[in-house]
Amino acid sequence: MAKRVAVVGTGQTFHKSHRPDVNGQELINEAVQRALEDADLTLKDIDAIVIGNMDHFEGINYVDCWSVDGSGGTMKPIIKLTTGGTTGSTLAIGGYHITASGLFDKVLVIGWEKNSESDTTGAITTAFDPVWDRLVFAGAIAALAAEGMAYMTEFGITDRDAARVSVRDRKHACNNPHAQLRKEITIEDVLASPMLSDPVHLLDVCPRTDGACAVIMASEDVAEKICPNPAWIWGTANRHTYTYVGDFKLGEIDSMKYAAAELWKKCGIREPRKEIDVIELYQPYSFAGIIWIEAMGIIPRGKGSEYIWSGATDMGGELPINPSGGVIACNPIGATGLIRCAEACGQIRGKADQRQVPDVKLAVSTGFGGCYWTDILLYGKKKPS
């Protein structure tokens, strides 16, 4: 029987567009030291390490091996997980599985990226099929733009509606000292920013970031001894639907729809909008803030924009989304999904400082990969039954 698992400590770097003062493993170390401090543990207490990034963003492979000075992996069991954009959320799910196995009591989970070290689109393109997609592929932004365009066409929303999502996240980011972009923007700013790929403007998309995040997970045998109010992982789900770019359903994201439905069912969530207190959504561009919460079952299809305009997802609203400022304010890719996990757990543990949502009992984090994959995790204040 699997063990129940809780998050007992988290740590992040202060994410920046570029960190010339540290190399990859030195960056990793900053997050690891902060997570150990948060859990009041030392490296000796850690039984195993799970680490990941997207190798092709730095062009240095095998981070599980070369980063042990930073990760603390010297003479410990360590494994790498990497799944593209979902790397960070896969790390959270993988760390959960390893801890739940009962073989390791305390597992250190690390996600990181130095996006400043490569040409992001060039690197991303290496993940696509060389025969069918690469010769005609215009990069990640264009793939997202196609989804936004399809949704606009079906429901008649405009780029002004999407811009409202960017405005929300950038406002929230001002409360988060770890976020990269901490300056408020207006709808007009978004619409006046350069058009990257119709209908996506510069301020509709995530930046490129250097940063790392570490999360310490503990089995039910030790979790409450380490942390009096840990964030319990209630369940996880993920879906992949894609081989070639033409495979995914434009304007409604199937991987989110089926992953979320499975998670709600497993965890007994009947009305996610009413039961969940906060969501950290891996939302790499503004339109996803509308489309993907529909797929998640928060609100009916076609009603996303109205819900965003109502302010329900702002701080103080019915269901705040991205109190951290989310991905539009900060995107160290291999860390991004794990930052969502750390932020959601911080909300449960009441440690989110300026960005704390009051009285959080249930929180959700998600991950998204370039191939329209979705990971989703549910955390609770209560130990799951």
Binding site: P20, V68, D69, G122
Partner: protein, 152 residues
């Protein structure tokens, strides 16, 4: 095993992707590399807990997991701990073969540094031999600011 390709023309795609990576060395490595470039000195960093002296320098001691802060100078003389002679010219080898790759433990260091031996005759290479660095004329802040090590 040989696949039967009769009647099949196997189409091959060549990579057209060239990703322009650039790597930040970080403050610790930069301190080492600029000392090498500007002063032709080889520096090391020492762990305050276990006393290990690292070349190349590292910000954190992998055993003690504590920050290293104490810089010192090592060498310039050192000892070859192991070597090999590369005799096949590969794309990754910039010099003309034979090239002698060696681990050199500089005097005062606990760890060895990977570099090259500059020898007229590679058969003169020996583990345990004493060597000294030959610095490059044009130094740009890489470990090739040491051209290689030659017999002391």
């Amino acid at each position: 095993m040989c696949a039967d390709l009769s009647g099949i023309e196997p189409v091959i795609y060549k990579s057209g992707i060239n990703v322009p990576y650039h790597w930040w060395a970080g403050d610790t490595a930069s301190a080492f590399l600029t000392a090498l470039r500007d002063r032709q000195t080889i520096t090391a960093i020492k762990c305050g807990s276990c006393g290990m002296v690292f070349v190349p320098p590292r910000k954190t001691c992998p055993q003690c997991f504590t920050p290293n802060t104490q810089w010192l100078e090592v060498g310039p003389l050192g000892t070859v701990t192991a070597f090999t002679v590369a005799r096949k010219q590969l794309a990754a080898i910039k010099d003309t073969v034979p090239v002698v790759f060696a681990l050199v433990k500089l005097d005062g260091a606990s760890t060895s540094m990977l570099h090259k031996l500059l020898l007229q005759n590679p058969s003169l290479a020996k583990a345990g031999m004493r060597v000294k660095p030959r610095f490059a004329q044009d130094r740009t802040g890489t470990i090739l600011d040491i051209q290689g090590f030659e017999p002391a």
